[in-house]
């Protein structure tokens, strides 16, 4: 039970480990020092003992010289006893030169105690010289030694002293180790304190509190670690905050967003997707995308019409855009599907198509109605015009005066009505797409001459002069001559209608794109800019009051423009109120395809 815990705790107790290693280091070094010190002390004690023993032996030898010389044994015994009085002297023995015992003394065994260590020293006693000092130089001249002094000293005192010194040394060593360790401990504790705080802080950050800052006490290694940690925290907070931002966008967007991984499973579905498809949060995650997509996988697409299948099986039309989702390494990690609910759009589309079909049907009905009406109108007109012509003939044949002009008026009114009916019919044909052109190549100058012959009576009516300017070599053009004549006659008729005592000029020329343009200019009442805008609309004259004054329906201009456009050309208009108008017919040279 203890072993695993200590193993688990070991990484935390950096302090213990440092203290342990300090302890070992201090213990070893202090022990070595102590041992060296003790060895030195021991050696010093021994030297001291040896010196004492020698000086004691020297003293006994000098005291014994004379007694030995004379052989005074009593004196020698006295000396021995005196020496033995020294506290650590165990034995004293004096022998003569031949080694015979002269005197000796020995401490009682009980007094001396157990088996203490002993130190023995020997000293020869030499005969005294004149100076009373031992003279090694002259010793050869003197008889040999007188005797020998042997002294044994007890080492008990030295040993006790040594033992005390050792104990003192050990205590000192122990104390110093303890002092060292406690200093070390507190210093380390102080050093490790910020590390401990950083650890606690890290735990706190782990609990999602990214906005905190690690405390930086000192800028040492731990301080730098804290600074680095704070920097990392800032980066992390930045990315985390931006992720929250993106999440918020995805959650708030109106389009439904799905992320499909490479296996075809849904990995992300935003709120819009869930509500569109009728699933709850998390229900779609991990499900195959085919569950909600009706049809084959879209691949990369933009604005594809597709169908999503809701949770209850209903199909929803969507506008789908799918794009590859690339990972950081650039590899495809899946697809992002963005879909827009097209239900409303489709409904509008259906309604629009319906409305268009209705309008087309109404237009067809209108055209048919106009065609029928024109037939029904022509039949009585046929009678009116025919009878008035016939009556005029009768009057001429029978010589009846006075009736002919009235009959001519009836005939003229009938014919105007007929032209109107023809215009209505033509417009309905153009609008129904049933107007067929008879295209052929013809000479423009000849056509213009024919038109002018028909137009001459129109000009005369309002006392207008009519002028034609057409180069004789203007050449041919490929178009429908009947319809071109009809358009030009319409324009000339209008010019004459809205001009009195003026000039109508018809001018033809080759246009830049090798077509022709024919302009019809008048010096009439002109058209205001506002009126110009509505000029080419059916049944619109520039001003309703003009209808009352000048007659007409405004159909002619509309029809003329439609006919010119069918031939690839157009009619343009320029006008100044009060000074006249200029209408120009442009007929381009048809392209090869149109000509064939």
């Amino acid at each position: 039970m203890t072993a695993p815990r200590s193993r688990r705790e070991r990484p935390e107790s950096l302090l213990t480990r440092v203290i342990t290693s300090s302890l070992v280091l201090a213990g070893v070094s202090i022990s070595v020092l102590t041992i060296a010190f003790l060895i030195a002390i021991g050696a010093a004690f021994e030297t001291q003992l040896r010196l004492r023993a020698r000086s004691l032996a020297d003293f006994v030898a000098s005291q014994s010289e004379f007694a030995m010389l004379v052989g005074d044994r009593v004196e020698l015994e006295n000396i021995a006893t005196t020496v033995l009085a020294g506290e650590d002297v165990l034995t004293v023995s004096l022998t003569d030169a031949s080694g015979q015992r002269l005197a000796g003394a020995e401490r009682q065994a009980t007094q001396s105690g157990g088996s203490e260590r002993r130190f023995e020293t020997r000293r020869d006693v030499m005969p005294p010289n004149s100076q009373g000092l031992m003279d090694w130089q002259s010793a050869k001249n003197h008889p040999a030694k007188l005797g020998t002094v042997r002294i044994t000293l007890s080492m008990k005192k030295q040993d006790a002293l040594f033992a005390r010194t050792v104990s003192l040394g050990l205590v000192a060593a122990g104390l110093s180790v303890a002092a060292l360790l406690s200093v070390q401990y507190f210093r380390l504790r102080r050093l490790l304190q910020p590390l401990k705080r950083l650890t606690a802080f890290t735990t706190e950050v782990g609990a999602q509190n990214l906005m905190r800052k690690a405390p930086v006490a000192r800028l040492d290694e731990v301080g730098q670690l804290a600074v680095a940690f704070n920097r990392m925290l800032e980066d992390l907070a930045a990315t985390t905050v931006s992720r929250d931002y993106v999440d918020n966008i995805i959650r708030s967007m109106g389009e439904s967003l799905l992320v499909v991984d490479n296996t075809g499973s849904i990995r992300t579905a935003n709120q819009a997707a869930l509500s569109l498809l009728g699933y709850r949060e998390g229900e779609l995650i991990g499900k195959p995308a085919q569950l909600i997509l009706d049809g084959p996988p879209p691949g990369t697409c933009r604005g594809l019409g597709a169908s999503y299948r809701t949770g209850n099986g209903a199909l929803i039309p969507v506008l789908l855009s799918a794009s590859a989702m690339l990972g950081e390494s650039g590899s495809v990690e899946g697809e992002v599907w963005l879909a827009q609910d097209m239900t409303e759009h489709k409904r509008f589309e259906r309604e629009l198509i319906q409305a268009k079909e209705d309008a087309e049907q109404a237009n067809r009905t209108k055209s048919l109605f106009l065609a029928n009406m024109s037939h029904e109108l022509r039949t009585p007109l046929n009678a009116i015009i025919g009878y008035s012509e016939m009556l005029q003939e009768d009057c001429r044949d029978r010589g009846i005066d006075g009736l002919e002009p009235d009959l001519a008026n009836i005939e003229k009114a009938g014919k105007i009505l007929l032209f109107l009916i023809n215009d209505v019919l033509d417009i309905s044909k153009v609008e129904a797409g049933k107007m067929d052109l008879c295209l052929e190549t013809f000479d423009v100058a000849a056509l213009l001459q024919e038109v002018m012959r028909t137009a001459a009576p129109l000009a005369r009516k309002n006392r207008n002069r009519i002028r034609v300017a057409c180069p004789a070599d203007i050449g041919e053009i490929y178009a429908d001559p009947t319809r071109l004549s009809q358009s030009l006659l319409n324009l000339i008729s209008n010019a004459c209608k809205f001009t009195e005592n003026g000039v109508v000029t018809v001018e033809a020329s080759r246009s830049s794109e090798d077509g022709i343009q024919v302009s019809v200019r008048d010096t009439g009442i002109g058209i205001s800019p506002e009126q110009l805008g509505q000029l080419f609309q059916s049944f619109t004259q520039a001003d309703p009051s003009t209808t009352r004054k000048y007659g007409g329906t405004g159909l002619g201009l509309v029809l003329s423009r439609k006919l010119c456009r069918m031939m690839g050309g157009d009619i343009s208009v320029e006008s100044t109120v009060g000074s006249g108008s200029s209408f120009t017919v442009h007929i381009p040279r048809p392209s090869r395809e149109a000509a064939s």
Partner: protein
């Protein structure tokens, strides 16, 4: 004297056309519908038929087809006269076997021009 047959249901138009052509020296026969027109054509053998196309009982297209399928009447030129002014009407009339086509209201000069062309052709044919 050139004998014409006018097949026309509208009384006013029939009367007006009859009188105007008679005034110009033609002998004019009349019929009011397609069936009567065929009958008169078979019996009276006119030189030219002026055929309205919208007729009761039998329309002008059918009548023309029948006339052109019978040996006794095949040679008589038929001039279609109609108020149907559409381009397709002309094609429909020619397809039914009419030899010419003119629109109403009748412009007497133009009509006589066409009639003369048809009569000349038919005389050469005979």
């Amino acid at each position: 004297m050139t004998r014409l047959l006018i097949v026309e249901d509208n009384e006013m138009n029939r009367d007006m056309l009859c009188r105007r052509l008679a005034r110009r020296g033609y002998e004019v026969l009349v019929a009011c519908d397609g069936i009567e027109g065929i009958e008169v054509a078979r019996n009276q053998q006119p030189d030219l038929i002026l055929m309205d196309l919208s007729l009761p009982e039998m329309d002008g297209w059918t009548a023309t087809r029948i006339l052109k399928s019978e040996t006794s009447t095949r040679h008589i030129p038929v001039l279609a006269l109609t108020a149907h002014a559409m381009e397709t009407d002309r094609e429909k009339a020619l397809a039914a076997g009419c030899d010419a086509f003119d629109t109403k209201p009748v412009e007497i000069g133009r009509l006589i021009e066409i009639m003369n062309r048809l009569l000349t052709r038919s005389e050469i044919g005979q």
